[in-house]
Amino acid sequence: MSQAAQQARHIPSGEEIIRCTDVNKWYGEFHVLKNVNLSVQKGERIVVCGPSGSGKSTMIRCLNRLEEHQRGTIVVDGIELTNNLKNIELVRREVGMVFQHFNLFPHLTVLENCTLAPIWVRKKPKAEAEEMAMRYLKRVRIAEQAHKYPGQLSGGQQQRVAIARSLCMSPKVMLFDEPTSALDPEMVKEVLDVMIGLAEDGMTMLCVTHEMGFAKSVADRVIFMDRGEIVEQDTPDSFFTNPKSERTRLFLSQILNH
């Protein structure tokens, strides 16, 4: 990974933006999240990893209430997530989310995908929203495709548009839910490069991913989840070289030695 990324690793601000306290969630009888405690500071870059079914996607989806937790508290940007719809909408404005399957709106052009929420949620004038959208599309290096429809783009391009679409809301936190898992191998890098760029600019990020190279180069902290629990969290250096728990060691040996 780039030298710049290494150097750009900075100390997070110390100001807390997300706090999860004893969060529990069940799907029917199945206990997916068990006493999850997590504190995220502004500017922190966190990678969440773990075997499939360990609850890592569910955890970050709880942070913008795409999933509902049943016990414990989640406070994002000073607002507690409850059934209060207004609060949920307020939180979602500030929290961008990038999905595994991009979820672009196929009936809208790339530019319309990016301007929709700023115009309707942030009530920005159309011209201003378009100008900002073009700026972010340039940043993810896809501005020349602005007037195409998502269906005409490759997976990697679509995912970069999805990132730009989230950025257009000027979010305080970005959540990535396995952003490269649905991509052909040759397209993973173009998406990771955009994410590294974001990390270097100091965006607060939570990223569920299996890209350990990304974790090593940009993360401030790596969280390992297994069976609904946060088993271990540490800096990437000590996480990868000196894992504390047996489960982490097993997981790392499986994903690194193949």
């Binding site: 979602r92 404005r93 961008g96 989310m97 709106f105 929709l116 929420a117 309707w120 989230s166």
Partner: protein, 368 residues
């Protein structure tokens, strides 16, 4: 790779001659096996024996539009278009006063103009709703009269094509938004709303349209307080709207269910409210998917307006039947039904063609 050899691609070749061209088409589609060959020959023979006599009756031996009833009765080997010539205005406009029949004609023209304009997606803007409102007010003034020096005409005298168009266009236009709300309600998280919508849809769908029309015309007045009466036409119109809304709601629900969960999540994730999400993201996609079943409903309701005859309203089918009851012209039912059949067919076929075009256009804009 040991040697770095430049690979030269193979040249493109033409397909074998026996797989393209008209001969190959005939062989593949009409004569691809011995039983299909027999079927083809049989069907051709059948068409050959049916079409010439029909054309003979329809055109060659037919009596013109100015022919008289006795002349037609003398030589019955051809169609008698004199019937249509004589009864055209009655079939089209019903009992609307003879000298005022330019008014229903103008009504038909206004509706057709509005419908054609609505086909153009450039007009799919909020202001076009105002154009429709203005058009409907004009139509109302024309049909009822009583303003601008137009003689008032009771709506019991309305009939023919304007009645068919009014019932179906207004019926479908009101039922469509109601159907969207019902479909959304059926998929709502709020139990009360959901139960209400499901009950309504299942109740109305489970009853024949005829019985609903009967209820509207016979039973409804029993429940109204003395002295209050709702116009017969309005009652039929309401029955239609209720029925069409339930059917269309199910078509739209099919579209809603085809939208991937990710679309809802992406819209939620951006902070869109429920209505923003539905109006901007979900419904445009769901309605595009629901076009074929929706048009199916549109077409069947356009034709079902002819059922109002049983509650004493004379739509296009009703006036044609009434025209046949004239003793002078009794018996020319083939001409009458063929004529109104063609009118219905033109409307329905246009709807079908337009929906195919719309589907193509919407697909083109977001092909995968």
């Amino acid at each position: 790779m040991t040697d770095n050899v430049q690979h030269v691609g193979l040249p493109d070749e033409r397909p074998p001659a026996n797989t393209v061209g008209p001969i190959a088409w005939l062989r593949n589609n009409l004569f691809n096996s011995w039983y299909n060959a027999i079927l083809t020959v049989l069907v051709l023979a059948l068409l050959g024996s049916a079409i010439p006599p029909f054309l003979d009756w329809l055109l060659v031996k037919a009596h013109g539009f100015d022919s008289t009833s006795p002349a037609c009765r003398q030589d019955t080997s051809g169609a008698c278009w004199g019937f249509i010539g004589e009864k055209l205005r009655f079939i089209l406009f019903g009992q609307f006063p003879w000298n005022e029949q330019w008014r229903p004609l103008a009504t038909i023209a206004i509706f057709i103009a509005l419908l054609l304009a609505s086909c153009d997606r450039r007009f799919w803007k909020p202001w076009f709703g105002l154009v429709w409102a203005a058009g409907l007010v004009t139509v109302g003034c024309l049909m009822w009269g009583g303003v601008l020096g137009l003689t008032p005409v009771e709506n019991t005298l309305w009939g023919g094509l304007p009645l068919t168009i009014i019932l179906s266009v207004i019926g479908l236009a009101v039922a469509f938004p109601a159907a969207i709300l019902l479909a959304l309600g059926r998929r709502s998280n709020m139990p009360a709303v959901k139960v209400l919508c499901v009950t309504y849809i299942e109740l109305i769908r489970g009853v024949p349209l005829i019985s609903l029309l009967f209820m509207a015309s016979v039973m409804l007045p029993l429940f109204l307080p003395n002295g209050v009466s709702i116009d017969k036409l309005l009652r039929a119109q309401i029955a239609f709207i209720m029925f069409a809304a339930a059917y269309m709601a199910e078509a739209i629900r099919g579209g809603l269910q085809a939208i991937p969960k990710g679309q809802y999540e992406a819209a939620d994730g951006l902070g869109l409210s429920y209505w923003q999400k539905m109006i901007k993201i979900i419904l445009p996609q769901a309605l595009a998917i629901a076009i074929p079943p929706l048009v199916n409903t549109f077409i069947s309701f356009f034709k079902d307006t002819s059922l109002v005859i049983i509650i004493g309203l004379y739509d296009l089918l009703g006036t044609a039947k009434a025209a046949l009851s004239d003793p002078l012209w009794r018996g020319f039912y083939r001409e009458a039904y063929l004529f109104i059949g063609v009118i219905y067919w033109i409307f329905c076929f246009s709807m079908s063609k337009y929906s195919q075009k719309l589907e193509r256009d919407l697909n083109r804009s977001h092909r995968r």
